[in-house]
Amino acid sequence: MAGVTARRARKQRAFRWIVVIVLGLFFLVPLFAMLMFTIREPDGHYTFETWRQFFDWPQLASTYPDLWTGMRSSGELVLLTVALMLVLLVPTVVWVRLRLPWLRRVIEFICLLPLTIPAIVLVVGLAPVYAWVTYFLGGSPMTLTFAYTVLVLPYAYRAIDAGLSGIDVKTLSEAARSLGSSWGTVMWRVVLPNIRSAVLSASFLTVALVLGEFTIASLLNRTNLQVAVELLGKSSATMSVAVSLAALVLAFILLFALSFAGRRRGQNRRSIRETS
């Protein structure tokens, strides 16, 4: 009996490793190919010249001004979008939970919509809106933050909603209110500290998504990192691939950190014990 169980456990373990390895190859081989492309000369020598240039930011800025602008735009877009997403989403979701529970399904539906609409269709809808945005705010790439906030809603909403499900928001906020907290204090000192890892998840997902976004920026004629990379590909293929690789790796690291943060939280939960 025990032998059967042990054998099955061993089989399952083997299967898990196979899955991990296949998936690992699936993700890593292209990355490895990209890396090789950036460090191999046509004559077969290896050189890190591209990477030296990549990390020498002042020189990078002067050699590839468009790339530099794109990188900076995307960096700023990341910050703006994360901020806008949090400011919009956290209070809304909390308020809906506290005061308008019947609206929850509606909000969830609205937040998931962007997932079901292809980016190209989204752009068709966004174009007339952005005509107005351009009219009022100019053509700065920063205006993309509105579109991106919409785009990250499905992921960010999920993350934050899951975080809020882990605590009794209603009771906690009522306890804080009765102790004398304003609504701002309730948000800042009671809700946020208890959904920190959810907020972190939502932010990481936003960063990954904004760094990788190409379609909307390109179709709305704004330059972000991916648009710049694509342009650069026509003149300096190695640098463009190096930048893409760096962006991908950064996104991977963030997602990895995210799952790690989630794991840590889970372990805390499991350590709950009754000590009467």
Binding site: A175, R177, S178, G180, N194, S271, T275
Partner: protein
């Protein structure tokens, strides 16, 4: 924020001396009267509060008792400012606070669900309200520590809520509510999630602490034993209004309506006949609770008789037959069938049980304690 620094009128060292107190509330200088005036609140088709009036004396502990859904929590939440009444006023210390938001009301609350902030230790939880009142850090810590000592959990100050048992968490919640020296303390079924033994222990301790700090307190519960044990006065609620408000013994011994008699304690419903201020039940004339028969007049009624007012005597000529007995410890409940198929439940000393096997013929005697009646 309207918080004055009031010195704690007790220190941690006086805690142990609390045992010898009598049970008369001793209002301290900061005890205030509370007045709920004609509160109404409707949720869709449900009238949760239906013209509720309640006056609480300074330092008094009133237990709101009633079946689930009768509006107890709603009443407490309206007093706390967490729910708006459709009409009616809330007065605390003579001031009308009906329009005041919850965070400016200065009320300490203990909830049924565990409500400690999970990211803060026990001590930090208790400090929370003091921090909002700009109490300096050292003083805050000292006061929070004293509060944790008061509720008997000072040694667990650095534990997080998930490291505390349910009973311990409710103690910390009580300390947190009291730390801000609230005008009113509100407890919404604070013990209902705990197991029986802890429940009784903590219940008595809540009363001890309440007497010590003298805060006017509203204690909501659906457990009649709990209500009778802790309260100065018990308010029995039914469908959004107060059915009876009085000291525990009065509510128990002289229930003003059949509903109260039924809900507080166990009652037999026995057929009887009213004449004047007496009701004849099973051949015995029992006095009526004053006013209990008004609106019924004379004639056939059901009288509500407590099991402890029923005596059994083994008598071969008795008209009752013992049906069953359930052992409750020092006393037991014995159910007896009468020839007309009425069932009478009697409470007897358990020592008598061996004589009262099922089938035994018994004579029933009713003690002449006042009873309420309802139309038959």
């Amino acid at each position: 924020m309207t918080f004055q620094e009031r010195p704690l009128d007790r220190d941690a060292s006086s805690v142990g001396a609390a045992g010898g107190r009598d049970t008369v509330p001793t209002p301290t200088s900061n005890s205030v009267a509370v007045h709920l005036n004609g509160l109404r609140r409707r949720f869709g088709g449900v009238q949760a509060l239906d013209n509720l009036d309640l006056e609480m004396a300074p330092g008094e502990l009133i237990a709101l008792l009633g079946p689930s859904g009768c509006g107890k929590t709603t009443a407490l939440r309206v007093l706390a400012g967490l729910e708006d009444a459709d009409s009616g006023r809330v007065l605390v210390g003579g001031k009308d606070i009906t329009e005041l938001p919850a965070n400016r009301r200065d009320m300490g609350m203990v909830f049924q669900a565990y409500s400690l902030f999970p990211h803060l230790t026990a001590l930090q939880n208790v400090e929370f309200g003091l921090g909002l009142r700009r109490v300096r850090s050292a003083q805050r810590r000292e006061r929070a520590g004293a509060m944790l000592d008061l509720v008997g959990i000072g040694t667990h100050a650095d534990r997080y809520p998930h490291q505390l048992s349910g009973g311990q968490q409710q103690r910390v919640a009580l300390a947190r509510a009291l730390a801000i020296q609230p005008q009113v303390l509100l407890l919404d079924e604070p013990l209902s999630a705990l197991d029986a033994k802890v429940r009784v222990q903590l219940r008595d301790e809540i009363r001890r602490i309440q007497l010590e700090v003298g805060t006017t307190t509203l204690f909501v519960t659906h457990d009649q034993e709990e209500a009778l044990a802790v309260a100065d006065r018990v308010g029995v609620m039914r469908a959004g209004r107060l059915e009876q408000l009085g000291p525990p013994d009065e509510v128990y011994q002289r229930p003003s309506t059949a509903f109260v008699a039924d809900f507080v304690g166990l009652s037999n419903r026995l057929p009887g006949t009213v004449s004047g201020d007496r009701v004849e039940v099973l051949g015995t004339a029992l006095p009526l609770v004053p006013g209990a028969a008004s609106g019924i007049g004379s004639g056939a009624v059901n009288a509500l008789v407590r099991p402890e007012a029923v005596d059994l005597a083994v008598d071969p000529d008795g008209r009752g037959r013992v049906l069953a007995a359930s052992f409750l410890g020092p006393t037991s409940r014995v159910s007896v069938a009468m020839p007309d198929e009425t069932m009478v439940v009697a409470q007897v000393a358990s020592a008598l049980l061996p004589e009262l096997a099922p089938g035994t013929a018994v004579r029933i005697e009713l003690r002449p304690v006042p009873v309420v009646v309802e139309a038959a």
